[in-house]
Amino acid sequence: MKYQTNFKVMGRTLLIELNSELDHHNSEFIRKKADNIIDANVIKNIILDFDKVSFMDSSGIGVIMGRYKKIIFNKGKIVVININKSIDRILRMSGLYRLVERCDDLDMAIDKLEERVK
């Protein structure tokens, strides 16, 4: 199941299309793969697409916090998109919206990231 997560490099932005329950089991693969791509492509920004994520626990929070610590050195940003109600609650409770921005969809996320460049 975890191998269905798609990683797309778009310039210096990495789009991660999550496609599994974001628990400890699946997080291990996602964080390692993401870190390899971030290092190899000098990734600055990350867009995390939660459209197909039905479940997330504190392991998912750890994945986002860990990637934030990496890309902040490049003055990068993390944007989360397609957030459902239960995932929104987890993100809010853990204070993660202080570190990441939420957008409705991919187009809005790309607009948001490009504004910063201008």
């Binding site: 628990d23 400890h24 239960s86 987890i90 409770m93 853990s94």
Partner: protein
């Protein structure tokens, strides 16, 4: 009074986190819980099982015992490991506190258990293990 009990023994491997969540959903089905209630309990169970695996047994082999109980609309789950135990429970329960930062742990596990369940008891003894007992009342809104 409606009563039911199911006890499960799990190996401490990470694919059993999803199994424990699914077993919980199946166990609760007769009560017809709301999606929010299910999502709360799944998160809390997932946190407790993950703690057994990465902290209790430090990613090594061990047994996790998961005992679920229903009494009318009260769901209780005990999650027990015979691992290293927690030295300072108060500290462990602080938000953002983790002993495994290098593994990208957020330190939010106990916070979610506390927030999503109605009752939470943590018992632990060094080198003997940890027992988590959590309860939640189901279908409270519908009454």
């Amino acid at each position: 009074m409606f009563k039911n009990k199911v006890n499960i023994e799990l190996d401490s491997i990470s694919c059993n986190e999803a199994f424990a969540r699914m077993a919980t959903v199946a166990f609760l089905a007769p009560l017809d819980p709301t999606i929010d209630e299910l999502s709360d309990i799944k998160t809390a169970v997932s946190e407790a099982i993950t703690n057994c695996i990465i902290h209790g047994y430090d990613n090594c082999y061990g047994k996790i015992y998961m005992n679920m109980k229903l009494e009318n609309n009260k769901f209780t789950v005990e999650i027990i490991d015979n691992g290293i135990g927690i030295e300072n429970i108060d500290k462990a329960m602080e938000p953002m506190y983790t002993t495994k930062e290098e593994e990208d742990r957020s330190g939010m596990g106990f916070c979610f258990m506390e927030a999503f369940m109605d009752e939470l008891v943590v018992k632990s003894k060094k080198n003997e293990g940890t027992t988590i007992i959590m309860s939640k009342y189901i279908n409270v809104e519908g009454e």
